[in-house]
């Protein structure tokens, strides 16, 4: 395992002063007017890294005073540099030098800085090394002038990006296909394209001692609950880790502290989903370097809603949603019910089916529970392997999985055909759930339920289900009860949980998330067309 020193976030103040890995990354030393020593300091800190380009441009005849330009090759956009930055430098040198290559006037650092500021965009004044390194390593170009104790960082970020492509994991039949990319700025732009309201506010932080990852919070002021926004800010500030490489790190570090297989933070790759959630009053957390954006607070129903539900007609969507809820039950209870009924409650099956099943079970050496666990584990292994396979082997593995293991195992007498059917249906139903982390939760819970079913039958299943219900009802996501609008029962919430009523009826926002601004629109039912 890679060595990682994490202090994470703890509820007690046990902070011993652990010196950070490289003490000058948090260097708040101020810049000094002497440019030679500044450049020396910068070079040593960066270890003379070869991709950091430092150009020195003389500003007077004896070449004793310099202007320095620093950028990171690969992170800074070459085109912008050659157009804006170098042109400015050329212009400045021209103004200093007369035709006969003599420096005519002493340079005025201040004026030079102003000229630079004019031509470049996104100007930041740099007064200490921490900001300098952060800007330099993010792709900005730094201007330092001898004799001034401050410099300028010009926004020249531009690197090779994956660009806006189709979503890989969240496909829809109807609806936009854009997905976020790994660059924070692209992602925020995608969201702003959907919501052009000035109340869409954004705050950025740098989290992660060594990675200094940019993390942004977006919310719509006036719709989002201020208390929750404040809570998000506090939790993000409390994070104290070395690295944030993906939004999953942040998710784990800010989620409510309960030991639960169920996710309390929602994540998605699609800008339209994020826009919809923002409009409901939730808060989006974007992390630079990953296309998966977090949404907080997340309720149980969010994980069962697909973006498409709102783009198709209400009756279709309601039917599909019901199907999804049914699939949860099947994926959770499928094998357990099979085990319970065949072991304890055979009287429930029609007589002819019992004969068939009994005949099958005769040949199998294991009790139903062992059989079920074996098959389920095999399927989980196959599924996990399938995720990582290169595309050309993928089909071979699925053939192995279905034909060889399923068919051959039945013929060898290790498992019964009914078991294969049950496992297959269960597995397929578990993929109907749109959100991966929710379907994993149900898949994991299947196993204890199978154990309970094998020992206590239907009674055991019920005990397990009640235990799961109790657990779900005790969860909160950033203070909001996880199971609303089912429990506590909110009647207006029912319009959009199991069914999806037509848009002209969905006139209010979820009430527990934003308490004040919850009337969305006036109800304007569709009018009958004139004959």
């Amino acid at each position: 395992m890679r060595y990682r020193r994490r202090t994470g976030h703890s509820s007690k103040n046990t902070t011993k002063e652990i010196p950070p890995a490289n003490s000058s990354t948090n260097d708040t030393d101020a810049l000094k007017p002497d440019i030679t020593s500044s450049l020396e300091h910068i070079r040593t800190t960066l270890g003379n890294s070869t991709d950091i380009v430092i150009r020195e441009i003389p500003l007077d005849e004896e070449e004793k005073h310099y202007m320095a330009i620093l950028y990171t090759d690969g992170l800074a956009d070459q085109k912008v540099i050659s157009e804006s930055v170098m042109m400015v430098v050329a212009d400045i040198t021209k103004s200093l030098v007369k035709e006969d290559n003599e420096y005519s006037q002493p340079f005025d650092g201040q004026k030079i800085l102003e000229k630079v500021s004019l031509v470049n965009h996104e100007i930041q004044t740099i007064t200490d090394y921490k900001k300098l390194f952060h800007a330099l390593l993010s792709g900005d170009t730094i201007f330092l002038i001898d004799g001034l104790d401050r410099g300028i960082a010009a926004g020249t970020r531009g690197w090779k990006d994956r660009g806006v492509m189709e979503t890989s994991a969240e496909n829809v039949v109807r609806g936009p296909r854009e997905s976020f990319s790994e660059s924070l700025r692209t992602n925020t732009a995608l969201i702003r394209r959907k919501i052009k309201d000035p109340n869409l506010w954004m705050e950025t932080k740098q989290i992660g001692r060594i990675t200094q990852t940019d993390v942004a919070i977006m919310y719509i002021h006036g719709i989002a609950n201020d208390k929750i926004v404040e809570e998000v800010r506090t939790r993000l500030d409390r994070i104290d880790v070395d690295s944030i490489l993906e939004s999953g790190y942040i998710e784990e570090l800010i989620q409510d502290k309960t030991l639960s297989p169920f996710p309390t933070v929602y994540n998605t790759e699609r800008p339209d989903v994020i826009a919809a959630e923002l409009l409901e009053g939730k808060i989006a957390i974007l992390v630079d370097g990953t296309p998966f954006v977090l949404v907080v607070p997340a309720l149980f129903v969010s994980f069962l809603h697909a973006a498409e539900d709102y783009y198709q007609r209400a009756d279709i969507s309601s039917f599909l949603r019901l199907l999804r809820y049914l699939s949860i039950f099947i994926s959770l209870l499928g094998p357990s019910l099979y085990i319970a009924i065949t072991t304890f409650h055979q009287e429930m099956l029609p007589t002819r089916l019992i004969f068939g099943l009994a005949g099958q079970r005769e040949q199998v050496p294991f009790p139903a529970f062992v059989e079920a666990v074996l098959m389920e584990l095999t399927f989980e292994i196959l599924r996990e392997a399938g995720v990582r396979l290169p595309k050309n082997i993928g089909s071979a593995i699925s053939i192995v999985g279905t034909l060889v293991i399923g068919q051959a195992a039945v013929e060898a007498g290790i498992i019964s055909p009914a078991m294969v059917i049950v496992v297959a249906i269960t597995a397929i139903s578990s993929f109907v759930v749109p959100s991966f982390n929710m379907s994993i939760a149900f898949r994991m819970l299947r196993f204890p339920l199978m154990a309970l079913a094998g020992s206590f039958g239907l009674f055991g299943i019920l005990v397990g289900v009640i235990a799961i219900v109790l657990h779900l009802c005790s969860l909160r996501s950033f203070g909001v009860p996880y199971m609303s609008p089912f429990a506590p029962l909110i009647p207006e919430g029912q319009k959009d949980s199991i069914f999806r009523l037509p848009h002209w009826l969905l006139s209010s926002r979820p009430r527990l998330i934003n308490q004040t601004n919850y009337k969305r629109r006036k109800r304007t039912p569709p009018r009958k067309s004139r004959e």
Binding site: F344, S455, L458, F459, A467, L470, P488
Partner: protein, 374 residues
């Protein structure tokens, strides 16, 4: 400690599930053996009586909705006598309440559904579930009740509808064959399970409801729903099975479920119907247990009741195993001792509290008069 607030709707649902509780399983048998085919009349009479009893129980709390039963006892009896009375109350309620219900479940499962499983395993499993529920708190129990209640309704109504084809109206005749006299004991037996133990709710709800002034209405509504469900079950038992079989069988509702037969395809689904009784039994045990945990922590001035739940749960499971040495003892006890006990605890006790409260209110005026005239 975290302040618990549940909504009125949750109060109604919890009360309904509590009322139905174990009654749905055992009440038809007892009543039919006493009143035979008039058990349904006894049920109606019992419900009427029950509402009067509820009125007595709720009276104190309509006036001061924030103080629960334990606090009233200490206030009206004085601190030390009050604490002793509370402890006795809690101890006996513990034995007669969750312990007996847990034992019921164990016996029901071992007799009807899982004959080869030791009763300790079933008691331990369900006891652990109750411990989980109570440990998580009243809000969680209330929300779980809101989520599970629709399933109970679904199973209950589907069972009732599916049995409509099996009704034989002549089972209910002749009406009042033995006259009025058997109605009273049957009604009393009904009330002793379905209404008198609601005194336990007086320990839980006051102080925990967000609109406490109207909480009593929610309790009435919940009890009404519960009583209606019980009436339906008793009626169906008599009409479908007949008074003899109902009286002789320990769990007539289970027999009812066995009779469901749709097109020779969906039959013998009593295990699925049993699910609905487990739901109500779970909430009955949990509410009993929660009341006792809260009560004990109040008597000893322990602020957080949650750590006590697991040891109390252990005691509960351990005691439940041997609380009834055998089934005839249980039937006898339920019929002869449980009724006077619940009458004392559920009716006489709140009555005494009311009288004391009334006296107390009059006394300050008396002493004021004396000090005025002195």
């Amino acid at each position: 400690m975290h302040v618990v607030k549940i909504s009125l709707r949750q109060v109604s649902i919890l009360t309904a599930l509590y009322t139905i509780g174990s009654a749905i399983l055992i009440v038809p048998s007892g009543m039919a053996s006493i009143a035979k085919q008039d058990a349904w009349i006894a049920c109606l009479a019992g419900s009427g009586l029950g509402f009067i009893i509820l009125a007595v129980q709720l009276q104190l709390f309509r006036k001061h909705p924030e103080a629960n039963l334990m606090q009233w006892t200490e206030k009206l009896f004085g601190k030390w006598i009050g604490k002793t009375v509370n402890l006795l109350l809690l101890l006996t309620l513990f034995l007669g309440g969750p312990a007996t219900v847990l034992h019921e479940i164990g016996i029901f499962m071992t007799i009807q559904m899982l004959p080869e499983t030791p009763i300790q395993a079933i008691i331990f499993l369900f006891g652990a579930l109750a411990v989980l529920g109570v440990r998580l708190g009243l809000e969680v129990l209330a929300r779980a009740a809101e989520m599970l209640f629709p399933w109970f309704l679904l199973l209950f109504l589907s069972m009732s509808i599916l049995l409509l084809s099996e009704i034989h109206w002549e089972h209910a005749t002749p009406i009042l064959e033995s006259g009025i006299s058997p109605i009273f004991p049957a009604a009393l037996s009904f009330v002793s399970i379905a209404f008198l133990p609601h005194i336990v709710l007086m320990v839980i709800f006051p102080g925990a409801v967000n609109r406490s002034a109207e909480a009593y209405k929610a309790v009435y509504i919940g009890s009404l729903v519960g009583a209606a469900a019980l009436f339906l079950i008793i009626g169906l038992s008599i009409l479908v099975l007949g008074p003899d079989i109902t009286a002789r069988n320990m769990y007539p509702s289970y027999m009812l479920a066995k009779k469901i037969n749709i097109g020779n395809f969906l039959q013998r689904i009593e295990a699925v119907m049993a699910v609905m009784w487990f739901i109500t039994l779970f909430f009955r045990i949990s509410l009993y247990f929660y009341a006792i945990a809260i009560g004990i922590s109040q008597v000893f001035h322990i602020k957080n009741y949650q750590p006590l739940v697991m040891p109390l749960g252990w005691i509960l499971a351990a005691v439940s195993v041997f609380i009834y040495p055998n089934v005839p003892f249980k039937l006898q006890w339920d019929a002869t001792i449980w009724v006077p006990y619940t009458i004392t605890v559920g009716f006489l006790f709140p009555l005494v509290l009311l009288i004391l409260h009334g006296l107390r209110k009059m006394l300050p005026k008396k002493s004021k008069k004396q000090s005025d005239s002195a």
